[in-house]
Symmetry: C2
Subunit: 341 residues, 2 copies
């Protein structure tokens, strides 16, 4: 199965949802998105389908077991069946959560996504990595469940808060480092819609090669091993954390050339200047180690698969002892202490 991508305008969404082959739509929608687009998204006029709507709370807060219980309970108490189709409308947290709900409701129903943030347009849902957070860390409970369709409406970005836009750009930059073609699009300041499509195509290509995340798919984790920890320690956005995580990997490996490439991409996509949240203080290595140890990309007890680049467009997996990572971070602690991107 492969996810179909459909680019369309917001006012075409209604007609597309009517085409879905089911008599029962379960909608999981970010409450803020519903408030902003209540006219365009009015589900009450959808023909020939019963529609049940769950308004999800903000972002990562949604990805808890408590919300999972409340949401599944809500749907299950409303006479649903296995041929129901779930539609997730919101950012990456909403689609991670909704996909997990769809995957586990009545042992799995089909689902689609309408991403409303830049981050979720370029990154979420393709490949079907869905899940929720445990007290022990992000995304530790989840499965693979590919959506049927992703409906891409760039115009949702008009109402996107600045911090979310920065976060999305951070993830776009990751693709700019992984793919020479995307780097070139960013450097020549191509329209955002074109860059988004290129990111999705790249991810589709990688995921198709590696559905269960054994090999190439790990490339997409560039910057994420440290990023997930930084995101939680400093409560910064995902994209920002990924850039900082990528920077740390480059610095650890003494790759000034890659740091320069990253800076140039940031300038062209109008992101930054970015200062580290630990500026002037030491990187909290022990806290970071705590999250690394919980990171699901870990394959053996004492090793971690980090993603590095030979050069822009040529990523590879570097299986590294956690002890060694800690040593390298310690070695370069002065560079890490004070930097800006």
């Amino acid at each position: 199965m492969s996810t179909e991508i459909l680019s369309l305008k917001i006012d075409e969404l209604h007609g597309e949802l009517e085409k879905i082959e089911t008599d029962l739509l379960l909608i999981v929608i970010d409450h803020k998105v519903l408030a902003l687009y209540d006219k365009e998204l009015d589900f009450s006029t959808i023909k020939n389908k019963k529609v049940i709507i769950w308004k999800a709370t903000d972002g990562e807060k949604t990805k808890s077991l408590a919300e999972y219980e409340a949401c599944t309970d809500y749907f299950l108490s409303r006479d649903i069946h296995r041929r129901a189709h779930l539609v997730a409308i919101g950012g990456g947290a909403i689609s991670d959560f909704s996909g997990f709900v769809a995957a586990t409701l009545l042992r799995g129903i089909s689902w689609s996504v309408i991403p409303t943030t830049l981050l979720s347009m370029v990154d979420a849902s393709i490949g079907g990595k869905v899940g929720i957070n445990s007290k022990q860390g992000k995304n530790l409970l989840g499965v693979f469940h590919e959506p049927t369709k992703i409906y891409l409406c760039e115009s949702f970005l008009k109402t996107l808060p600045a911090v979310e836009l920065i976060s999305g750009k951070g993830e776009v930059l990751k693709y700019g480092l992984l793919s020479k073609e995307i780097e070139e699009l960013i450097l020549k300041k191509a329209p955002l819609a074109e860059i988004i499509s290129a990111c999705i195509d790249y991810k589709k290509m990688i995921v198709l090669k590696d559905l269960k995340e054994a090999g190439e798919r790990k490339f997409l984790n560039l910057g994420h091993s440290f990023g997930h920890g930084l995101e939680r320690i400093y409560q910064i956005s995902h994209g920002e954390a990924v850039i900082l995580g990528t920077f740390l990997i480059f610095l650890m490996n003494d790759r000034k050339d890659l740091i320069l490439a990253l800076k140039e991409l940031m300038r062209k996509i109008e992101l930054g200047p970015l200062q580290s949240p630990w500026r002037g203080k030491s990187l909290p290595v022990d806290d970071l180690l705590y999250y690394l140890n919980k990171d699901k990309k870990k394959t053996e007890n004492d090793r971690l698969d980090l993603i590095l680049l030979e050069k822009v467009g040529s990523p590879f997996i570097q299986s590294t002892e956690i002890k060694k990572i800690m040593g390298l971070l310690e070695e370069r602690k002065d560079d890490i202490k004070n930097f800006s991107l």
Copy 2:
């Protein structure tokens, strides 16, 4: 992927667990089983593997989101990784729960089962239907996640409580109605081990034909649509509820021949006589309707796929309006009121 079945003695289990290709075993074990077999199952002496043990509470109580949260939290806080292998030891509730934990932990780790009840030996785990209960009904949250191996130790049955043995026999009878071959084994009073193997082979054959439960696999639900409701309304065992559910289907369809066949199988397997828990009173049709409406086998809002037999060994799916089912139960209410099997 297909599950491998291994028949062995309890004292051979230890060596088999050592052979599993992982450095980390996560064990989910029914606390009563651990208490009864603490010597035979001593995991502390397993070589070259770290072993983490979760003692599960009794039966269906385990299949809650609260237990799911506690168990996954317990494992995730103990430095686990994706190549860990989970082993479920207990009855069907333990394997349903454990399989769901394995399926969703770090987006899925491999798992195996050591069933310790007759019911779970003949029925659980093959085909990978795993899940937990919602407030709204049984098994409403779940996925498909096939175990790598099922280790079959008949000797666990020696310590099985009588009520559990009855429950298991109920499920064996279901297979006796679905398969002519198994009916004959029961009628000629073949050894239990032989009957168990035949049930597993039948289920494997059905599941192989129909992994996602679209067609033949529904045969295995014979008696379950009513059974699940009866089990909850009267707090009776699963197998007993399945027999009563099967009886209701036969009665609704006025199939005296099948009722006779069921009675003969019950006599040969030394089960019964069985009286209905509603004896002398009316069947609580409204309560039953409540559970039927929540039943995940329902495919459209107003219809239900019931399983019926042309004759023993020849099941078929009968898509029936819920309204019609209610009418038939009403029509035969006097027969239903007083019967024994």
